[in-house]
């Protein structure tokens, strides 16, 4: 099983989650759309697309939750005919992230939810404790950061 990471501290929690929950694809990203880690993707362009879409969905559902319920909605599950997605925020002392997981009939929503809770706890424990200011939604060097992370994930110079 291959888990590619831009920051080492996320590798173990994500690897455990992917293995236990038997998801096909997994992405851990910053709410701005920058990727931190991935499993299952073979092309950088797919990661970029998935990150952009996941960040947009999370932003939309978060805002919708605020409008309807006074606070952002939590996890989102969407079931297709063969594949399903699970999208949920993960908060650590360092920052907030988004996990996108794609799974099929080899897993189930219950299993993904179960191991997501473990992933959330493991990530919070593994996160560097030094608090940093929340970066702007679109960092000044967003494109550079994005390309650096993609290069780290796919081994490009």
């Amino acid at each position: 099983m291959t888990v590619a990471v831009a920051e080492e501290w996320v590798e173990r929690p994500l690897r455990d989650f992917v293995g236990e929950a038997r998801v096909l694809l997994a992405l851990l990203l910053h709410p701005s759309g920058q990727v931190l880690a991935q499993h299952g993707f073979t092309r950088a362009v797919d990661v970029m697309s998935a990150c952009a879409l996941a960040a947009a969905i999370q932003a939309s559902s978060g805002e919708l939750g605020k409008q309807l319920d006074g606070r952002p909605f939590g996890a989102l599950h969407h079931a297709g005919r063969e594949r399903q997605i699970f999208l949920a925020p993960v908060r650590t002392a360092r920052n907030e992230y988004i996990l996108l997981a794609v799974f099929d009939q080899q897993s189930s929503l219950g299993i993904v939810q179960l191991y997501f809770e473990e992933f959330r706890a493991a990530l919070a424990t593994a996160a560097p404790t030094a608090s940093v200011e929340r970066p702007p939604a679109l960092a000044p060097d967003f494109e550079g950061e994005l390309n650096r992370n993609l290069a780290a994930l796919f081994g490009r110079k």
């Binding site: 009939q105 897993s107 189930s108 219950g110 299993i111 939810q113 179960l114």
Partner: protein, 108 residues
């Protein structure tokens, strides 16, 4: 239906769980039983047992019993629903099985 199962001696809880999603449809559980966790894992276990039985050519899985150090997990299913019961070692498994089969009929 579930309350009746849970009233059996030594039964700590029972649940109806979706087989494909592992989510609880209804449950009657004693305090301290981690319902969602057991539901997700038991449904996954039952589904794999059913697929194994099918692959082995031995027909439909009828009753699954997992014996553990401090109790048992029993499961039977129909129409994408799994009836799961958690029992202590002292529980009468024969009686529990009959009650679960009856409850399964009620599930339709």
């Amino acid at each position: 239906m579930l309350a009746g199962l849970t009233r059996q001696r030594g039964v700590r809880g029972s649940m109806v769980v979706g087989e494909s999603d592992g989510l609880i449809v209804d449950a009657s559980l004693q305090v301290g039983v981690k319902g969602p966790v057991v539901a997700a894992l038991a449904a996954s276990l039952y589904r794999r047992a059913r697929m194994s039985a099918d692959a082995a050519g031995v027909g439909t899985a009828t009753f699954l019993q997992l014996e553990a150090e401090r109790g048992r997990v029993c499961a039977i299913g129909r129409n994408d629903l799994v009836l799961v019961a958690l029992a202590e070692p002292r529980a009468n498994v024969g009686m529990l099985r009959i009650e679960m089969l009856r409850a399964l009929e009620a599930l339709g």
